[in-house]
C-alpha cells in the first residue's frame, strides 16, 4: 500500500491489476455470476404485458421457490435465433404458438413434451396439446364486430367481403399472425396448405375492391377498433372483450366456418444442459396446474386449457366457459393445416401475398 502511495508501482503489478480488471469487466459484460451457473433458466419471449403476466403467475414464484434465476431475452420474431444457435443453443425456453412449435420441433430444435417429466400435462385438454407445446391458455380468435355501425347479423368470414363495409374492414399483417389467419380462411374457401389459389383470389378482392387496411399488431388493431376506423376485423376474443369493457361498441363472433385458437406457452429448446432442461420441465409443469391457469385467466381474460380449470371456473370467469362444440369450432380450420408444408413454402407464400394481394 505504501509502495502504491509512494508511486513505486512495478510494471508487472499494473499488468496484473489490469488483467484482473479486464477479466472482471468481461465476466460482467457477459452477465456471468456464480449464482447463474448454479441454476438459471433462460427464456425467450416477445415481452410486453404477456411477459408481466407470465412473470407474475409462473416464473417469479417458480424462481423464488426453487432458487432458480430467470433470465429473459425479449423481442418479436426470435425463432431465427434458435435456428442460428442450433449447434450450441444458449436459451432454454421460447414462448410460442402451436404452428411455429410444430415446425421448429419437426426440425429437431425443440424437445418433445413428456408426461413422465411433467405430470400435470395429462390434465391438458387434447385440443390444446401438441407434441412440442401444450397451452397454459388458449386465445379464441374470430371476428370483431362494431355493433353500432353494423346492424345486421355477422356469421361468416365472407362478411368481410360485404361491399357495405368497404374501407371499414381490416386484416392482420402477414408477419404478425396474418399468415396463419390467411391459411385458415383459405381452407374455409376450399384451399389446402399446398393450394392457396382460392385464398389469394379472395384476399386480392378484399384489398383491391373492399378497401381492407392492414392491422400491424394488437395495439394497432385496438386503435383501429377504438377509433371506429374499422368496423369488422379478425381479432382475439379477450382483446375484443377489453375494448367492449372500455366502452367501444364491439362484440366477438366465431364464424360458422370455424374460428381460430392459438395456444400459447413455452417450448423447451433441445440440446441444453441437463440441469437447465430439468428446470424448464419443472417450470412448464407449473403452467399446466389448474389453480395457476385460473390465476392467469383472471389477469389475461383468456380461457385455461387444464380440464379441471375449464370445468371449475370461478363465477367471475364463467364467461370464458366454452362448450365442446365451441372448442371444436375453434380448432376446425387450423387442424386441417399442414405446418411443415406451410413452413417449407413460407417464402413463396409471403411473396405471393405481397405481390398479388397487397400489390394488387
Amino acid at each position: 500500500m505504501t509502495r502504491f502511495l509512494n508511486g513505486s508501482v512495478s510494471r508487472r503489478s499494473v499488468l496484473k491489476a489490469g488483467g484482473a480488471l479486464a477479466g472482471a469487466a468481461a465476466l460482467g459484460t457477459f452477465g456471468y455470476t456464480p449464482a447463474q451457473a448454479a441454476g438459471d433458466l433462460r427464456i425467450i419471449m416477445p415481452g410486453g404485458s404477456w411477459k408481466e403476466w407470465v412473470e407474475q403467475t409462473f416464473t417469479a414464484p417458480f424462481g423464488s421457490a426453487n432458487e432458480v434465476e430467470i433470465l429473459w431475452k425479449l423481442g418479436l420474431g426470435q425463432e431465427p435465433l434458435v435456428m442460428a444457435q442450433q449447434a450450441r443453443p444458449q436459451w432454454d425456453l421460447i414462448h410460442t404458438g402451436q404452428m411455429r412449435a410444430g415446425q421448429l420441433g419437426a426440425m429437431g430444435l425443440y424437445q418433445p413434451l413428456s408426461e413422465e417429466k411433467m405430470p400435470n400435462l395429462a390434465k391438458i385438454h387434447p385440443s390444446f396439446r401438441y407434441q412440442y407445446l401444450a397451452g397454459k391458455c388458449h386465445t379464441p380468435y374470430g371476428l370483431c364486430v362494431n355493433t353500432s355501425k353494423i346492424t345486421r347479423e355477422i356469421t361468416s368470414w365472407e362478411d368481410l367481403w360485404d361491399p357495405e363495409f368497404k374501407g371499414r374492414v381490416a386484416f392482420p399483417a402477414w408477419g404478425w399472425i396474418g399468415d396463419e389467419v390467411f391459411h385458415a380462411i383459405n381452407i374455409a374457401f376450399g384451399g389446402t396448405s399446398e393450394d392457396i389459389e382460392p385464398g389469394i383470389a379472395k384476399f386480392k378482392e378484399l384489398f383491391a375492391e373492399n378497401g381492407a387496411v392492414v392491422a400491424n399488431n394488437v395495439e394497432h388493431t385496438r386503435q383501429l377498433i377504438d377509433a371506429e376506423e374499422v368496423w369488422l376485423v379478425p381479432f382475439f376474443g379477450a382483446r375484443i372483450e377489453q375494448a367492449a369493457a372500455a366502452g367501444t361498441p364491439v362484440e366477438f363472433v366465431i364464424p360458422e366456418e370455424g374460428g381460430l385458437s392459438w395456444i400459447w406457452n413455452m417450448s423447451i429448446i433441445a440440446n441444453r444442459p441437463e440441469q437447465n432442461v430439468a428446470n424448464a420441465e419443472a417450470l412448464l409443469d407449473t403452467t399446466f396446474e389448474a389453480e395457476r391457469q385460473i390465476e392467469f385467466a383472471k389477469l389475461t381474460g383468456y380461457p385455461p386449457t387444464n380440464i379441471d380449470a375449464m370445468a371449475n371456473l370461478p363465477a367471475e370467469l364463467k364467461r370464458l366457459e366454452l362448450s365442446d362444440s365451441d372448442v371444436e369450432l375453434l380448432g376446425k380450420l387450423q387442424s386441417q393445416l399442414d405446418p411443415m408444408t406451410l413452413f417449407a413454402y413460407r417464402d413463396q407464400y409471403a411473396e405471393r401475398w405481397n405481390k398479388e394481394v397487397l400489390g394488387a
Binding site: G77, E79, P80, F207, V214, F343, N354
Partner: protein, 285 residues
C-alpha cells in the same frame, strides 16, 4: 530524435485506438461482413441458408419488378424527406442563430424534446392526430372545410410528413453548428462591400455552412432509407420500403440470404447517393 519521438507518438496513438478498433472489428465489421456474405448463399427452407454460392438473391432483386419498385420507392421517399427536412431544418437553424440566447435555449429544447420519446410513440402520436376521430379532422369538420372526417392515414404523404418531423432534429443541429462557427464579421463585411442580404446569404453564409448541410443530409437520408416502424404504421398496404422488407425476410419468412442481399443493396444505394451528394456539394462551392 524528432523522428523517434514522432514514431513513439504514433505508437501511443495506435495503442490508444486499439481497444475501440478491436471492439469495432469484432462486434461491428465482422458480424456485418458475415451477414453480407450470406447474400451469396443459397436459401433453404429448413436451415435458412446453405453455403452454396449463388447470385440468385441479387438477380431476384434486380430483375423482379416488385423488388425494383421497393428499391426505387425507398430512394425516392428518402430523397424527398431529405430535401424537405433540409429546407425546414436550414430555416430553423438559421433562425436559431439569430434569436437571443434565452429563447435559443428554449427552442433548442423544443427541437430535442421529441427525441426523448421513441419513434413508435411519435408515430402513434401521428395516428392520434390524423385519425378519423383525430384533432386535425375535428378542426377541419368544425371549420367546415370538410363535411365528414376524411382518411389521412395509410398513404405516402402522411409517411413523408411524419418522417420529416422525426428527422428534423438530425438536420437542424449539424447545420446550426456550422452556422454558429462562422466568423460573425463576414456578413457585415460583405454588406460593407455592397452585397445585398440575399447575395450575402447565397455567396457567404450558405457555402460556409456546407459541412453542416452535408452531415445533416447524410444522416437524414441514411436513417430514412432504413425506416421501418413509421412506414409500417402510417404507410398503408401498398407502401413498402427496404427496411420493412429486410425485417420481413429476416424475422418472418426466415429468408436470410435474400434479406442480406436487400441489406447489401440498401448500403450500396446509401453509399452511391452519399458519394454523389458529396461530389455535387464539392463542385457547387
Amino acid at each position: 530524435m524528432s523522428q523517434q519521438s514522432s514514431r513513439a507518438g504514433g505508437l501511443f496513438g495506435a495503442a490508444l485506438m486499439s481497444p475501440i478498433g478491436i471492439l469495432y472489428l469484432c462486434f461491428l465489421l465482422l458480424p456485418i461482413g458475415f451477414f453480407l456474405s450470406l447474400s451469396f448463399f443459397t436459401y433453404s427452407a429448413q436451415q435458412m441458408y446453405v453455403a452454396e454460392p449463388t447470385l440468385d438473391n441479387y438477380s431476384r432483386l434486380i430483375f423482379d419488378g416488385y423488388y425494383r419498385r421497393i428499391i426505387y420507392d425507398t430512394i425516392r421517399v428518402s430523397l424527398v424527406v431529405t430535401v424537405i427536412t433540409l429546407v425546414f431544418g436550414y430555416a430553423l437553424a438559421y433562425f436559431l442563430t439569430r434569436v437571443k440566447s434565452t429563447w435559443r435555449g428554449i427552442m433548442m429544447f423544443l427541437i430535442i424534446a421529441p427525441l426523448m420519446t421513441g419513434v413508435i410513440v411519435r408515430t402513434y402520436g401521428w395516428i392520434v392526430l390524423l385519425g378519423t376521430d383525430g384533432l386535425v379532422n375535428a378542426i377541419l369538420v368544425w371549420i367546415g372545410i370538410v363535411e365528414r372526417p376524411i382518411s389521412m392515414l395509410g398513404n405516402e404523404k402522411t409517411v413523408i410528413v411524419a418522417l420529416v418531423h422525426i428527422m428534423l432534429p438530425y438536420m437542424v443541429f449539424p447545420i446550426f453548428s456550422s452556422l454558429v462557427a462562422q466568423d460573425p464579421h463576414l456578413v457585415p463585411a460583405a454588406s460593407t462591400l455592397g452585397a445585398k442580404p440575399l447575395r450575402t446569404f447565397f455567396e457567404v453564409t450558405l457555402p460556409l455552412s456546407r459541412s453542416g448541410i452535408v452531415m445533416g443530409s447524410v444522416i437524414v437520408f441514411t436513417m430514412t432509407s432504413g425506416s421501418i416502424v413509421t412506414v409500417e404504421l402510417l404507410g398503408g398496404r401498398d407502401m413498402t420500403m427496404m427496411g420493412q422488407l429486410i425485417y420481413q425476410l429476416i424475422l418472418s419468412t426466415f429468408n436470410w440470404p435474400l434479406g442480406a442481399a436487400v441489406a447489401a443493396l440498401l448500403v450500396l444505394c446509401q453509399f452511391i447517393m452519399i458519394s454523389y451528394y458529396f461530389r455535387k456539394m464539392r463542385r457547387a462551392y
